[in-house]
Symmetry: C4
Subunit: 388 residues, 4 copies
Amino acid sequence: MSGSLLPSIVEDYRVLARKRLPRQLFEFIDGGSFAEETVAANRTDFARLRLRQRVLRPVGEVDLSTTVLGERWSLPIGLGPVGLAGLTRRRGELQALRAAQSAGTQFCLSTVALCSLEEVAAQSRQPFWFQLYIMRDRGFARELIGRAKAAGCRALVLTVDLAVAGLRHRDVQTGMTGGLDWVGRARVAADYARRWAWLWDVGVQGRPHLFGNLLSAVPNARRLSDFYQFTRANWDPSVSWADIDWIRSEWGGPLVIKGILDAEDATQAVKAGAQALIVSNHGGRQLDGVGSTISSLPAVVQAVGSDAEVLLDGGVRNGIDVLRALALGAKACLVGRPWIYALAARGEQGVAGLLATYRRELEISLALAGLTRIADVDRNALVQGTTR
Amino acid sequence: MSGSLLPSIVEDYRVLARKRLPRQLFEFIDGGSFAEETVAANRTDFARLRLRQRVLRPVGEVDLSTTVLGERWSLPIGLGPVGLAGLTRRRGELQALRAAQSAGTQFCLSTVALCSLEEVAAQSRQPFWFQLYIMRDRGFARELIGRAKAAGCRALVLTVDLAVAGLRHRDVQTGMTGGLDWVGRARVAADYARRWAWLWDVGVQGRPHLFGNLLSAVPNARRLSDFYQFTRANWDPSVSWADIDWIRSEWGGPLVIKGILDAEDATQAVKAGAQALIVSNHGGRQLDGVGSTISSLPAVVQAVGSDAEVLLDGGVRNGIDVLRALALGAKACLVGRPWIYALAARGEQGVAGLLATYRRELEISLALAGLTRIADVDRNALVQGTTR
Amino acid sequence: MSGSLLPSIVEDYRVLARKRLPRQLFEFIDGGSFAEETVAANRTDFARLRLRQRVLRPVGEVDLSTTVLGERWSLPIGLGPVGLAGLTRRRGELQALRAAQSAGTQFCLSTVALCSLEEVAAQSRQPFWFQLYIMRDRGFARELIGRAKAAGCRALVLTVDLAVAGLRHRDVQTGMTGGLDWVGRARVAADYARRWAWLWDVGVQGRPHLFGNLLSAVPNARRLSDFYQFTRANWDPSVSWADIDWIRSEWGGPLVIKGILDAEDATQAVKAGAQALIVSNHGGRQLDGVGSTISSLPAVVQAVGSDAEVLLDGGVRNGIDVLRALALGAKACLVGRPWIYALAARGEQGVAGLLATYRRELEISLALAGLTRIADVDRNALVQGTTR
Amino acid sequence: MSGSLLPSIVEDYRVLARKRLPRQLFEFIDGGSFAEETVAANRTDFARLRLRQRVLRPVGEVDLSTTVLGERWSLPIGLGPVGLAGLTRRRGELQALRAAQSAGTQFCLSTVALCSLEEVAAQSRQPFWFQLYIMRDRGFARELIGRAKAAGCRALVLTVDLAVAGLRHRDVQTGMTGGLDWVGRARVAADYARRWAWLWDVGVQGRPHLFGNLLSAVPNARRLSDFYQFTRANWDPSVSWADIDWIRSEWGGPLVIKGILDAEDATQAVKAGAQALIVSNHGGRQLDGVGSTISSLPAVVQAVGSDAEVLLDGGVRNGIDVLRALALGAKACLVGRPWIYALAARGEQGVAGLLATYRRELEISLALAGLTRIADVDRNALVQGTTR
């Protein structure tokens, strides 16, 4: 057995994904924006929080189930929305959905998925979540909301931290996005060839329903090489709190706002009628240098009080991190890159394995913290003085 | 002479052990749980404590002897309980016992030793300590306590931080525990072969008294590849403070509780009748992300006051670390991995060398701190402001 | 595509510059003084400041324009003065000037440029800035000020942190400056040869107007190998605040003092009549171990109040850093090494690309911080408690 | 030119020394005790102190001269006592002495020098310092003091932090000291051969006056392989403050106590009649884990007040560090490893080069801090809040 050992199942899958995926795609998934300071902070700030080891408390019966937006989850970990998942595996979103539902938790389909709302709904055993970006063409958002209602979606997750796209230097260098001069293009040519073979392999090349949710509005969505620039051109930077009203009235169901990192924004989100917030910095892919998710969580929880549920998405790499987030007031965690790595590495089986590992890790760490139920986790689970 | 120089005798033996042992075994010993944050913290937190260099105080006569549970130790360092020690050397527990007794200190036999209580008792020059895990079958614990009494053990060390086993990713990756799919199994196949040859070599393969203390209760303990899963299945997560009572009454002798990291647990342990506590996080192998041993020590010492003796086990890599722990109130330190590395590297002679080096290091550092007796070590030995 | 991906456009150009330039020249540009602690601190201290991510604030119209010394800049980033720029590209200062002016921002010509004030003025579309060192021969400074006036320069930037030159160990080791014994000289001989070929290539060798601004005063300025020692010999360490008076009266226009890192010096600079200060430690090339630029900025801004504009030069590697500096009170940032790397890597096109990237990064980060105008950036853009 | 560039002249010489010296000797010089935490802290704690960059203060005339024990030094940097210097170069102590005296500063001869007091005195242009260890045989100390008086030494430096020798793992591994088993001895055999050739080369092998100062007392001092063990056997751990009295009366001249790191010891040293103290942890070669020299300096300076002069020895690697130590109250700095590296690398010329570089660095940094005289350096030279 060669190579060095890896500290988590996520890292395991990441290494496998790196081997399998075309470089552009892997780096697009793996990378962050600008100097990637926030990608790093999302991880390192978790490690500062120290848990209390408690002993001789009966922990034979550990129950990880929790309730999110009135819905029972078998564990406080769901699959957050990730764009382009379907590029890593044939019908990738469906594979992840099946793994999540088998594990008894929730899956959130991205606006920028390769499988359409309708395809996913047809295969889903139960209502799933749908994530929405608001583009310049509001009619397109209305249409998507209508399709989500028709698909019986359980919650609408509005992502608000992408007014404009963060600058991701890896994508420029790999040719994932434009901006390369001819020297750069020549350097990545070999990888381009590999990329097209890949697209064929995962069943994307030439299929009419590529980018299912966007297709009607986006004539050239089929051409992957334009995609990154395309999103930059179509997203609407002038969306404001005022837009939440019509979205809420169009939608009518539970509204989740994703991308809240600031206590003032959290307060406003609650006022705007969000039932839940997701503390997120878009996985460190948007404004670099902002607070990490875990360091931003306490102020958001305090601002929101009991008016909304708070979830956290970003930097969660094992069950210990989940326990830390719960201790600081999160209702549950979502993961993004981890399930894409797992999907790319081993498909549905990989995502199932990921969730099983998170479950086992959380069971173990809850028990070793002397607790048996999610509802019992609070700041008392942390060593005083380590929360800042 | 090639290679880089090593900063301690422990690291020296660790390198030798890595060369000698089958990979699965080495990584099982060397690793921790989850992301191994606590393994690292156990070490780095020692380095934050700065000692006072004192000069021109007569230190010609340095006496390292101390008293632990009324027993005289020639130095405040003992060999803590470590499972599977006998897998690293033929009759490994006996070799370590002899080294400890020759050095005038104590050895604690693990429940999960390869040499049985009776075999060890037959070879021991004096009463040794016995470490107990409480399994689902309480009758088994009763039987072990009875055997420990019959063996004349001096103290019973009840390990309480293993309600469930921490998840150790290295063991999954090396195949030490189950969970590998067929790809993984193929990858470790060559190492499996080496492992079985090894077992023959250390005299374990096919011997009837393998896992001496467990044999009666565990029909398949002979099969190493099942062992890790086996412990997970048999340990009892519902043990509670209430169990201490019957253990105490069965045992009747000095009771030590190992795995206390929290002041509240320490208070309860004293109430439950423990004569000594061992501050420990199981060497970073259980709940990852908890406080390091040395950072947790002061609160435990304060909670316990003079009601019990406090020992520390975890992260002690030289005599300087021992001095730091004593300065913060530990009565003595136990070491785990260090003696296994030494045993694997050079057998009894290695463990003797390890203890001799610790002794010499502590003698030197005590003298250079201007002190000559263990009883004189207190917080005054540390630079103010560095204890946090 | 080989090699690892780079976290910024600056690093990209740096790698290209390292490939293109003779080693002595690259290390001269890239290095700092003494142990280069300040070079590192200029970077790492930026990363401590955490920005606030703000959402759902309309950021469709972002305007980066600002006013510096009454002059409109299309973005708050200018090209600071850098010596020897012309050694990296044929007529390098002209190329950088054109890139800056095309981007709608300002360029500052160094005293130690290879293109003369007159050559630059002849090609410039608008008034540029001129940086002045005061040498022992005050007549020479007077002459330069006269030439700057004749060239229609917009502002005079007086660099005050080079009373004596910092010791730069890289230059000694590469042979850029003297001090090598014969062994050292032999070691760099091959590189010397390459250097002379290079000088021919960039059009410097043998041209009468080499070091245009210095030529009249410096007979041997043509000989590069003497240059570093030469500057040490001619700079005047006895310049004092009293000298500002005659400089101001000679010049008559807007006076900028560059190299202020201390609040007391800032107060004095304002009293001496400076309209703007540049917080700078000469890129970590002078007194090593001083405060970083970003950590020194707040005290200077506070000392100066509204009496002068404060710019920052040192450690700015992307638009995020610019936003951080603006949040702490800087009116704009200047960059040094970044544009030299870009110039060396790709000439005028490189500098243009650098400025375009900075612009895009600042636009994006401003929008993601929920802001649309430079004037709206203040401390409120930062997470409280991270500014120290 | 290959290899990476080095950040200081000390590192330059260190690399050269590593190439030239037998491994045992280099590691003996380069290493520290135990885990070498203090060796590292001596360096890193300097970097925490930030200097103030001051501008436009006339610094044309910089005077580095100072007075130590009433003696004029041309710069506040002297050569501290280092044992075995003569093993690195033929008559090494003499070479260093000449370099120090040519530079107008002081040299301190070690008890454990290869050149005797008498040989050094014969070649010295002026009184030098002599460092004394007190061994079990007090008569030997008396004899040495007598010889030092006869040699006209200017000050007696009593080293007090070596009651017992710190454990230096590098020396065990390289075979510099005993403790190797036959496997280890075989590994270093080739190096032993090289070492003996080396001894011949530097003129030590077979010379009657090897270890000049120890010879009379130490019959087997000629055999290097016994030396390290020998010192451990002969040093006296029972020396106490009471011994200072007779030393002082034997000596009669200025008494310097070296190895003070603690304010309480400093107070006692002054009471015992020391005219100067040297803050030192023996270069991190004795009690590992103690405070660094620079972090320990302020409390010692405060305890001593104006009753004695305080010098610092340990971690000083360039003129910036000297300035920092002066700012915190040191009268001057001594260096140890730096001059041995320089001596090993280039002999007398190397030590001269080292001192010239330190001088130039201090001149430059003093000027850039806006100061011109050593007496003007105080805490005001540091950025507030960085001294802890």
